[in-house]
């Protein structure tokens, strides 16, 4: 317990690969284009889904972060698939089979599988993007999308202090464990009392965080902070890397075109 520390489940995986080397801004734009293209794919355009899968899998293999790693992290969408499950009953179409009183339609099944595929394709891209790009670089890249600098600075701050405040929370939890008995692993007291204790801990953590932010602010003032966050000047994107967006976008546009061809 003494050496207990917080660690965030950071998705970055340091490797040397062409994808890791690519400028973060170019990566971010390409990833967003891919996700937009995926979301725009009509239901049941399986050929487009196959092409998109081929694209993302090639990128994953090229990045050397490991297919297993990416697929494990896609599991976060699973709870949400439940929300989409009902479309197999409610989408008008030919009834395929009946479960008890419900009729499953062909269109419904098509829609459900399409939603799952699109979601799975998009999340693979997000996982890949964060696995190949260090978080600070990703943050800086966000300025390309015209995200206000203040917001980016705040997000960067949060990323730094999540570990510090997380350790603070662990100290509180350790203190609670040290002062409490838990026979048979059960907490004592009424629900209301337990909620009040947790509330007290949350507020205590809040106060410690406010006080820490005040100390941080004073330390920043002492080091010449004047409200502007200065970062190392970002390198200009090399022309060759910017140029990657063009064929990337073209391929995605062609896939979209193909997805709308029915035969």
């Amino acid at each position: 317990m003494i050496g207990e520390h917080i660690h965030a489940l950071n998705g970055y995986r340091a490797r040397t690969s062409p994808i890791h080397r690519l400028d973060a801004r170019v990566k971010l734009v390409l990833a967003l284009l891919f996700i937009i293209s995926t979301v725009l794919t009509p239901d049941g355009a399986w050929h487009a889904c196959i092409l998109l899968t081929a694209l993302i899998w090639s990128a994953i293999i090229l990045s050397r972060v490991g297919m297993g790693f990416v697929q494990r992290r896609t599991a976060v969408v699973i709870p949400f698939t439940l929300a989409a499950l009902t479309v197999i009953f409610t989408t008008p179409g030919h009834p395929v089979w009946a479960i008890w009183k419900f009729t499953v339609t062909d269109r419904g099944v098509e829609r459900f599988i399409s939603i799952l595929l699109k979601s799975w394709l998009s999340i693979q891209m997000t996982v890949l993007l964060t696995a190949c790009t260090p978080f600070p670089a990703l943050l800086q890249a966000m300025s390309v999308l015209r995200i206000p600098g203040v917001l980016i600075a705040i997000i960067g701050f949060t990323y730094r202090y999540v570990f510090v405040i997380g350790d603070e929370a662990l100290r509180l939890i350790r203190g609670r464990a040290a002062r409490s008995g838990a026979p048979n692993g059960r907490g004592g007291g009424s629900l209301l009392w337990r909620a009040r204790v947790t509330g007290g801990m949350a507020a205590s953590l809040f106060l410690r965080s406010v006080e820490r932010s005040e100390r941080v602010y004073e330390a920043m003032l002492a080091r010449g902070y004047d409200g502007k966050v200065r970062t190392l000047t970002t390198q200009p994107i090399r022309l060759g890397e910017w140029a990657l967006i063009l064929p990337g976008g073209l391929v995605l546009a062609l896939i979209q075109l193909l997805a709308r061809v029915r035969w």
Partner: protein, 319 residues
């Protein structure tokens, strides 16, 4: 255990990419950008150069606070989301900034919530939830005055309403996208989060009691003393806007019944699945739904009207 990990909230509210269609994503982005833009300017004006360190550390607090869990019953545990507490203690604009930061980091670090739908997640958890929480809190304070139990009741109701309203907003977005029919998503989301909201409300009230005991000053500087009614009305307006959208968000109104009729499954249509979840708790379908929602709105307005009346009367008595 050498390491504990911060992952993120487990409640089913972070929409992944692929679950919203393009135009819902776009509309949500536009609304989110407007909200964030106003919040940045207003909180910047209030906090000045302290904005970055204060907001940054407090968003980290929201993450860490999610590690604090407590046993509810039978081995299940509730944990704390913290949005309402943040907005009550920091004020609406700083609250929006903090929660927006949390949503962005959840998407980028944990893939909890997608990139293209980030606008929707920011709208639900960063803007709707915070403004509703603040409006409700100010409304209750107007009603009950600065008494301690007014503070606690305000915190409880504000936290519950913020969780509930962002869940409803989430269900509506799924409905508009045709991903999940509203007639299923709305009762499911609203039902689950009505329970989650109770835990959130209790912890928020507990936290406010603690702050009131040790740092009462933090409770007084957060918002201007005046304008409470305006905030309460703003919160009410947002809540109503969300509820009003609900009947529009059902693209396949009675798909189940129609399918059954079209294909001769009349037997099935007669005892269509609606029996499982009776009509009266089942908004999203034709007129009955509208009736339910209108009833809800009228009810809300009556409650708000009475609250407003009492608050004005109280103020006259005092002055």
């Amino acid at each position: 255990m050498l390491f504990s990990s911060i992952s993120s909230a487990t409640e089913p509210m972070h929409i992944p990419d692929g679950f919203l269609n393009w135009w819902v994503s776009l509309v949500c982005w536009v609304l989110a950008i407007v909200g964030i833009g106003v919040a940045i300017r207003r909180s910047g004006r209030a906090l000045g150069e302290r904005q970055v360190p204060l907001m940054g550390v407090l968003a980290a607090f929201i993450f860490a606070a999610q590690m604090l869990n407590f046993t509810v019953a039978g081995g299940t545990s509730g944990h704390f989301v913290g949005g309402a507490l943040a907005v009550i203690l920091l004020g609406p604009w700083a609250g929006i900034m903090t929660m927006t930061t949390v949503v962005v980091i959840q998407a980028l670090l944990f893939q909890d919530g997608g990139l293209l739908v980030m606008g929707a997640n920011v709208l639900n958890m960063g803007i709707v939830s915070t403004l509703v929480a603040y409006g409700v809190y100010r409304g209750v304070l107007e009603l009950l005055g600065g008494r301690k139990w007014g503070l606690l009741a305000g915190g409880f109701i504000a936290a519950w309403a913020s969780v509930e309203l962002s869940a409803i907003a989430c269900a509506i977005e799924l409905g508009f996208s045709g991903t999940s029919p509203l007639s299923v998503a709305l009762p499911a989301m609203a039902g689950i989060h009505a329970l989650i909201g109770i835990g959130e409300g209790l912890i928020t009230a507990g936290a406010l009691a603690f702050v009131a005991a040790v740092r009462r000053d933090l409770l007084e500087v957060t918002g201007p003393a005046t304008g409470g009614i305006r905030w309460a009305l703003a919160g009410l307006a947002i809540a109503l806007a969300v509820v009003l959208l609900a009947p529009l968000a059902s693209p396949y109104p009675d798909g189940l019944e129609r399918v059954a009729e079209d294909h001769g499954f009349i037997e099935a249509a007669r005892e269509a699945p609606y029996e499982i979840i009776p009509d009266y708790v089942f908004p999203g379908i034709s007129n009955e739904a509208l009736a339910t929602i209108v009833a809800g709105i009228v009810g809300t307005l009556i409650v708000a009207g009475v609250a407003f009346g009492i608050a004005t009367a109280r103020r006259k008595v005092i002055s």
